[in-house]
Symmetry: D3
Subunit: 159 residues, 6 copies
């Protein structure tokens, strides 16, 4: 564990780290979130006549990806070239996968993590009237590519 | 489970629900998040000479609480009278408790949930250079008070 | 036409007008917008397998209503108690009706107008690949209630 | 009409489309809006001693162009190299032309459309005390240049 | 100096202080800023054929007042009932007075200070091509009214 | 003084100036602000058990740098590659130095100036309970590099 906490400069002061000397490369990241809910609540999702909480969550997650540097204090502003969010309804909840891509000097992990988190919060918001005990279980980075550190893939069993 | 999904109006269309006829009452909510990280990463947090990732996360969480209606599509705008965020460093990670209060026509659950989530994302952002496998485990509502539905407290063992 | 332009103070300088002495009353407003498009483009909207441009536009409009004071320089910040947006697909385009409500010292006309406009712009954005000549025709206030000036209803034939 | 709705991916799910493989080229767009108002209201605009509603609208439109990706859910973030807004006072209202330019992987139509729309909404806001029946008539794209699809110019008579 | 730093709670942790038990009262505040510039730059301001940097600064200051809780981490969100900004061109620069008012549980000092500061920054931005040495000299609170601490007026000679 | 006010186009209308033909170069800027406060207030800053107003101000300033184009009407959006803020506690107050860097078509003076200003405002906010007479004295550009106009350094004695 030789690396320093990168948001601290030499004097230990918080800063938005200097990425000016890094190369612009294609970078992608995928994050996962899981919203655990009971079978009853899950059953209510598709029965809604004209709407779908997951579609609202998808828009919220995409928009949040673009707001990441407004939310996470030391994140750089990145021009996202792509954001997408996929939902998989499972027996005990909804799995969210959010992916983001850019051509920039630093990675898009936080954009993917933020998109997944806000999508999860939106699902919570839209279903909390049915069950306040719904919870968001596990938000994590699944994969990243690009940049000097190269490819990262979360190990099997870690998820 | 007799309640409808409250963000849908009679025709099933998504809307920001009408709270105009609800009373203005004092309302509070507390949410919990947990950022799981290894002992090595945890050990690095306080050793940083002049700064502290948790303090950055605290500011981020407080500011995010105020941005909740910008992030969660159907949330009402609430004038928050109080926001606070507490961290407890545990053996396997950092526990976050975010509380919010208002005097308004609808509750502050989403403000507390959003504050906890963005604080957790910020901790992730500030420590991900040390370990990309850090994950946010469980974000949930711990307690709410006020409004017609009254007090909710998450059951022992649920957390 | 005896009224002054209300955003100018006595010296003729632009200001956010003082509403401090006005009463807090229930106020509503409804605005209309129309997105004119060809039958071909209209036909493509529902055929999309899993999504619907109108649902994206609905979320965009609701979120924009909350951002009105960030966009319109002299608008007051209002706590919206309700926002809803209805679409009617017609032979030559999509009619949008956006309604907003508040209990405040000034009206919600601009929130309704902004919601309708941003919903219309979003429909344009999502269909412009099919036809760049799509246009937004007529954005206007249909009705307002509340406040000292009372009820306003747009006359038949004006729309 | 062979093109798909571009904001939908292969599975029909809404996404922010991947522009990562597009070239960075110079792109411009001009949009038009028209705010129809009576001769009485028009006459009141310049008589105001020290201010001018059009100048407020101009600033609002320029600032809104920069906020486009915050408002239109699936818009990419573009670094605008130029925004300008021109007004022409006509017998029956105010014509607005908003132009935007960028060097990017995707076009600036929505930035120009949003600038024109918010300028029009601001004129409405600043004159609605004189006449609530003022309406925004026609918002459309006048011209775009750059990108793979090249130049588009709205036909004579279309406006 | 018996008062604590109010943004710290009992354990010394930063929080958005609890104003829930304070009364809603009418509150006003006025702040002052001064942009020092040479006679040459000052002379250029009014000679500009159709525009005026001060009018752009006025709009920027009013809009910034509304964004105060987005900028100042521990500020509460306040519904502003009034914002106005006055400029006085003096021999050695431009004096700015920004006033804000609300009916709320906490004061509007920061809204007035932020409006004055952003107006000053905007004047700097619009004149820096003429002289990079222009500086903002002194931003301070001139007066506040309302709330438990009552009226504060800056002493003669302090300004 | 041959230069025009750069935010005005040929017809004298305010616009976001066209930087499309400028080269992308590395650009930096450093701004200074000074928050004057009494020895009593200064003494209170470090005695706070777990928190530090300067750390809150640092985060606020960094975040504000990213929001500059939202605040200053005619500022271009720049992808900041670095932001840092240093504080020096002096006998009569706190000196702030804010630096920003980018690779872009226009300079980062306003980002550095905005970061310094918002950091100063935040210090004011967090100490105003101790002394309302605290004032922000002098905000100015200390240095800029990059772009056609090259290096600017404020002269000795000017500060």
């Amino acid at each position: 564990m030789s690396e320093k906490l990168t948001h601290y400069d030499d004097a230990g002061q918080v800063s938005m780290v200097n990425v000016g000397s890094k190369d612009i490369t294609e970078r992608t990241a995928t994050a996962r979130a899981f919203v655990a809910m009971s079978a009853n609540v899950l059953a209510a999702l598709p029965s809604n006549p004209k709407g779908d909480p997951l579609e609202v969550a998808r828009i919220a997650g995409i928009m949040a990806a673009k707001r990441t540097p407004d939310l996470i204090p030391l994140c750089h502003q990145l021009p996202l070239s792509h954001v997408e969010i996929h939902f998989t309804v499972q027996a005990d909840g909804v799995e969210i996968r959010a992916s983001a891509a850019t051509a920039a000097r630093t990675g898009v992990e936080m954009e993917a993590m933020t998109a997944a988190s806000v999508a999860a919060l939106t699902i919570y918001d839209m279903t909390k009237a049915l069950d306040k005990a719904i919870e968001i279980r596990q938000i994590c980075l699944v994969e990243k590519t690009g940049g000097k550190s190269g490819v990262y893939r979360r190990q099997e069993g870690e998820e």
